[in-house]
Symmetry: C3
Subunit: 200 residues, 3 copies
Amino acid sequence: MYIVAIIVEAMSAALAAGRRSMDWVGVCMLGSITALGGGSVRDMLLGHYPLSWVKNPHYLLITVAAALFTIFIARFMYRLRKIFLLLDAVGLVLFTVIGCNVALEMQQPFIIVITAGLITGCVGGVLRDMLCADIPLLFRSELYATVSVITGLIYVGGLRVELPHDLVTVLAMAVGLVLRIMALRFNWSMPKFVYTRDLH
Amino acid sequence: MYIVAIIVEAMSAALAAGRRSMDWVGVCMLGSITALGGGSVRDMLLGHYPLSWVKNPHYLLITVAAALFTIFIARFMYRLRKIFLLLDAVGLVLFTVIGCNVALEMQQPFIIVITAGLITGCVGGVLRDMLCADIPLLFRSELYATVSVITGLIYVGGLRVELPHDLVTVLAMAVGLVLRIMALRFNWSMPKFVYTRDLH
Amino acid sequence: MYIVAIIVEAMSAALAAGRRSMDWVGVCMLGSITALGGGSVRDMLLGHYPLSWVKNPHYLLITVAAALFTIFIARFMYRLRKIFLLLDAVGLVLFTVIGCNVALEMQQPFIIVITAGLITGCVGGVLRDMLCADIPLLFRSELYATVSVITGLIYVGGLRVELPHDLVTVLAMAVGLVLRIMALRFNWSMPKFVYTRDLH
């Protein structure tokens, strides 16, 4: 499942790279950074060494391969975009649960566990957008971060009240997944904060 | 005082988010990253774990609350902008002193202590600008970094010559504060380096 | 040699700062971050503390001095640009070899060693471009990352087959250097991936 998630993230980043006409090396790098960046930032912030891809270097190869592969199948991906968006949503909730688990194993307090899930789920996309010189989509789009926080809350809350681990995992991921898909389907979004005056 | 500083930083970041029409979640995230990012980068560079907000997770909640609060009072903030700029200047010198202290406790050499102060004081704003896809203001504006370096130099220098700790703290912060306010008042700035030729 | 490499990186970043009319402080900061950022990111990702410039703070001063110096000699640099591009290429292969060595000393596996070389050689420039709110040149230009990977492969491969260390170092750097210079001379580049359809 984790492998599927990093493949999907790498492929979506490869398409973003293609939209900016990056070269093949750039595509691979952006793919790897996007797929593995969220977990890396989480681990650096928590001081959780070694990082997952340093321990399992084949993750790096997988993301590079996924990005390269995307170059060749890009023309067919439009037709697959629904599956793709679904897999991306799976990646989001899965990364969130993985991130929560890392912090739980480190005995971190509740807020940090939720934050670790959020960082793992969302920072990869933020790095992708920063490297494309864009304002991160996350900061203005469809409940992406909100889904991550809710998934984390259900997961950690469920474990707190001592529900069985498998049930909590399935429940948290299912709720997050449904929420994300409905947000995409019905174009849900958070209210925007529009401020036009300069402070200085 | 530290709490006041992170609140002010989070609020100023929230206004920057509003200028880019981010949604509420984006406002909160940008607020937290800006307020806590400087200290986090300093700690990751120095290998100083755990990070302050990981140790005290309520700092995260405070910055999120400050950012949300800003959304509701934004319309009144223009009138308060002088107080705001003053608090922002207080935040800068306070963050600088805190950053110097962290490095001093780690027995770092002089240059690293000053650099730690500078990073703590300034990197939050740099992250904010990078996430807004802007060239960091810091790199082209009113003595912000210079004030941080001078504050750090007075603080560390004063401790070296064994002045009392409280006196040195007050002195360094007062000089930094006055300098920053005068820079704002009289539009002081460093000379610019303008280079128009392409190297390649 | 390392000193030359960080000086060259700092100077090239200073010119990039000049093209964006940054002030002198911004020039110095961009210079330091570009010159020392690649190694810093590598060390933070690998958990390799203390960072080189924290251990040797005079590296910081050297990069600041190089950036300041650039402001004064910028008008003459156009004439020196060939030497400059050569030194930049030397910096790339040298940083790569240094990065590989750090990972080798940590007993990291093959893929991580190559990646550490790539990060050390290339991330400084990526940070420079991000701070200038540009899409990193690395992602779309002349074999920069490719040269780094090939240099790393020859270096690590040569050590694996137990060639003498000096020979391998010279060989890897020479091949990387020639490749980079030929890429510049003949405008070699990797194929681009151009994708125009929006996924969403």
